[in-house]
């Protein structure tokens, strides 16, 4: 009964989505208020129905209703409740439902917060949103229905891959989806603006919060996934340039560029066509990722490409949404007015530079990801494009961005002076030079010394920007405080995110340069010296029972100068259903070190294969990543978004 209710709710949602896509669009072109008003009620109904459907699927998982095929294939009664729930999106069908659920949440939010928007723009944006929902609902109902029944119901389910049974991974997909799907809002606004043929500063201000929210979630999703990979997977890596990782990085890069170009539109009414294009591209890249991952056209997805009809369907959705909007773009863009002029050396110029490099970097990642596919199609042979390629291409593209990131905020709008900016950043320059000299003296490679120099440059430069704006140490304390309180939250968001990037770079450089590893067979009582610590395998406990697994646990005593600091407890778990073995690494950080222990297979002679790593500063990568997301969150809390969207009349005649 419950699964049928969910199924029925989805079908209803499909019709509501159709209404939401069509009626407000016609209403907007006719100027009919009542028809336009359908948009918000449809969005609300859509939200209610999809929430009901999603709730039904969650319910099926919680009560372990194995008469539902999807539950039987992916769940098990022994699983802890948390993983029964998170198992809902641990498979293709359920994750698509989560996708549509999040889409409906955004639609609802747009209906709620969009009261100040011009009615036609709002109606059109919600209609586009309805169209996107319609496409995905058709996709779910025709190819990926999670509510299909199984008769007879098996006594128990097949279980979920134990790797997914980790809190870090459980909440990773929802964040990614909140990011990907969030960009659909910006996309809808862009299409609506193209239909109206009007893009201006006010439009940018309406769109920016949605982009900020989506970007924050995506950042959290990527950083969280990376962190999860680091602390559970036991190889100490956190990024591998796999097509699926790239699929999440590309919308992030485009979204980052978009955040910055929106500033130019909002403040200076320039770069409008480019910004619209970037908005379309960002959401298209989210769709492209879905296509690449679920269609099997790239090797990364080798084990998932079960159903080519899904690939065809998602490609049709991608071609439809992206193709339509880009065609609309090609018609409307030439008539968009150019906006105000600015010099290459200016705040806007810096933001444009950021956009060029980020977009080129995104294009390079796209090229590397798709190149094997191009070669396949052109019958040029099979090649692999792996980490060495992406490192070689990506790092030179990001270097100018990072160098300019400290300078940009010090430049004036319209026309800035590099001389003045450098003069204001002289402490940062000195610190960066000193950092390079010190690190080079420590015999690290020039690449690492340069990276550390960049990190210092960016961090110090960001702090100098903060000092500059608040008049720190130059103005009286009272004045500094007054100015600091007066600065908008979006400014602090920028400071936090830019500082986060600096910390991230230092983390990457440090963990690469100073990592050390010890791989050996250890017997009970053996010690290994690593990073100034003594790591002793004290004992190995076998047969530890978990809720649905049995574990072998190693106890490593970590001591320095004979004083014991802590014990590390890596595990090797064997799950009951499905019967799989996973490793659970143990990590412990004590600045600057980050120790990492993995217990491997027992050796016939009574020892154990152990892998011990010291990855100094590696946690900075995740801390920096978190700070980047936090900055986005701060910017989202800016007053000017809370006070409500400005109306166009208030903006009229406003000059940067």
């Amino acid at each position: 009964m419950i699964p049928e209710l969910g199924h029925f709710a989805l079908i209803l949602a499909l019709f509501v989505a159709l209404v939401q896509a069509v009626v407000p669009m016609i209403g907007a072109s006719r100027g009919d208020r009542a028809w336009m008003g359908v948009a918000s009620s449809a969005a609300a109904a859509q939200f209610a129905l999809v929430t009901l459907a999603f709730g039904c699927l969650v319910w099926c998982y919680v009560v372990s209703d194995f008469s539902v095929l999807n539950v039987a294939q992916n769940s098990h009664t022994d699983k802890p409740l948390l993983y029964k729930i998170t198992g809902v999106w641990g498979n293709h069908e359920g994750s698509m439902l989560l996708w549509v659920f999040i889409l409906s949440v955004y639609g609802m939010a747009a209906a709620l917060f969009g009261r100040n928007l011009p009615p036609t723009l709002r109606a059109r944006a919600l209609a586009v949103q309805g169209l996107v929902a319609f496409g995905f609902l058709v996709f779910i109902l025709l190819t990926s229905n999670p509510f299909l029944r199984l008769d007879p119901a098996p006594p128990n389910g097949m279980g979920m891959n134990p790797l997914l049974q980790d809190p870090g991974l459980a909440f990773h997909p929802p964040f990614l989806y909140l990011g990907y799907v969030g960009f659909s809002m910006a996309y809808s606004f862009a299409v609506a603006a193209l239909i109206e043929g009007r893009v201006d500063a006010v439009w940018a201000r309406w769109v920016r919060p949605w982009v900020l929210a989506a970007w924050c979630f995506l950042t959290v999703g990527i950083v969280g996934g990376s962190w999860w990979a680091y602390y559970t997977l036991g190889w100490g890596g956190w990024w591998y340039w796999d097509p699926v990782e790239n699929a999440s990085l590309m919308p992030w890069l485009a979204g980052t560029a978009l955040l910055h170009s929106l500033i130019v539109v909002e403040r200076r009414d320039a770069l409008k066509a480019w910004t619209i294009l970037l908005t379309i591209v960002t959401f298209s890249l989210s769709l492209l990722g879905t296509f690449l991952v679920r269609s099997g056209v790239l090797t990364s997805v080798h084990s998932f490409a079960a159903d080519p009809s899904r690939g065809v369907f998602i490609l049709a959705l991608l071609a439809g949404f992206t193709g339509l909007s880009l065609t609309l773009f090609s018609i409307r863009a030439p008539s968009l007015k150019g906006g105000s002029l600015f010099a290459p050396v200016s705040r806007e110029g810096g933001l444009l530079l950021n956009n060029i490099f980020l977009s080129a970097a995104m294009g390079a990642v796209l090229l590397g990801t798709l190149y094997p596919l191009f070669m396949d199609v052109l019958e040029l042979g099979k090649i692999s494009v792996g980490p060495p390629y992406f490192d070689m291409v990506f790092i030179p593209f990001m270097t100018p961005v990072i160098l300019a990131m400290a300078l940009g905020p010090m430049l004036a709008w319209k026309r800035g002076s590099l001389k003045t900016a450098f003069a204001r950043l002289r402490i940062s320059l000195a610190l960066a030079a000193a950092a390079i000299a010190v690190f080079a003296a420590f015999h690290v490679s020039w690449g690492v010394a340069a990276s550390m120099g960049m990190a210092v440059w960016l961090f110090a430069g960001t702090m100098e920007t903060l000092a500059e704006r608040t008049g720190f140490l130059r103005a009286p304390w009272r004045e500094t405080k007054r100015r600091a309180l007066g600065l908008p939250r979006s400014f602090y968001g920028m400071i936090a995110s830019h500082a986060g990037i600096a910390i991230l770079i230092a983390g990457i450089a440090g963990s690469t340069a100073w990592q050390s590893e010890r791989i050996q067979i250890m017997h009970i009582g053996d010690s290994v010296a690593l990073g100034g610590y003594e790591i002793k395998l004290a004992k190995v406990e076998d047969g530890i029972k978990g809720p649905n697994y049995t574990a072998m646990r190693g106890i490593f005593d970590v001591s320095r100068n004979g004083v014991q600091d802590i014990a590390l407890h890596p595990e090797k778990r064997t799950y009951d259903a499905p019967p799989r073995t996973t490793t659970k690494a143990a990590t412990w950080g004590d600045f600057p070190h980050n120790l990492y222990a993995v217990l491997g297979d027992p050796d016939p002679k009574g020892g154990y294969v152990t892998r011990l790593y010291d990855k100094p500063l590696v946690t900075w990568i995740f801390f920096g990543g978190g700070l980047i997301a936090l900055g986005g969150g701060l910017a989202l809390l800016d007053r000017r978004y809370r006070v409500g969207a400005p109306t166009r009349s208030k903006y009229a005649g406003r000059d940067g």
Partner: protein, 166 residues
């Protein structure tokens, strides 16, 4: 190391129902060479070679049986006195360029290696085009004394003045 495959897939929220078993990963103690210089070279080479059966990860990271054999082979070739390039060539001659995580620069990969640079050039060209556009709202920038002096010099001398006429 198929476990990592798993994470990657899950980055987009996809569970894969193939039998993944992960125990120890990557290089095992008994594979390693006692000569640290050779071992470091072996690790470096292994990191650049793709594990063929697990897709998109290096043999250094993989716990597949074939990856294990290839790691041993790499070390044997190094002990036999091969250079790094010779070791790679030895494996490429059997498995093709597909095993190289960094594709070679040749006619087929021209687009791959030159593409990013071309993209950047295109971006730069678009920026130049953009800065020279004339349809923007012209806001006459206030000229500093120095700029005014330079402008005057240009106007009077006529040198380089043609550039602004475009």
């Amino acid at each position: 190391m198929k476990i990592r495959r798993f994470f990657l897939l899950f980055l987009l929220g996809i569970a894969v129902a193939t039998a993944f078993a992960d125990t120890a990963r990557a290089v095992l103690p008994d594979e390693m060479l006692s000569n640290p210089v050779l071992e470091r070279r072996a690790r470096k080479i292994s990191e650049g070679l793709r594990c063929l059966v697990c897709q998109n990860e290096s043999i250094d990271d993989s716990d597949a049986a074939l990856a294990h054999d290839l790691r041993i082979l790499v070390r044997k070739r190094l002990l036999a006195g091969d250079t790094d390039a010779q070791v790679k060539q030895y494996i490429v001659s059997r498995y093709g360029n597909y095993v190289l995580l960094k594709p070679p620069f040749d006619a087929e990969t021209l687009g791959l290696w030159l593409g990013p640079g071309a993209l950047l050039l295109f971006g730069a060209a678009a920026a130049v085009f953009f800065y020279r556009r004339k349809d923007g709202v012209a806001e006459t920038p206030r000229l500093s004394g120095e700029e005014r002096a330079r402008l005057d010099a240009l106007m009077n001398g006529g040198q380089g003045g043609g550039e602004n006429a475009s």
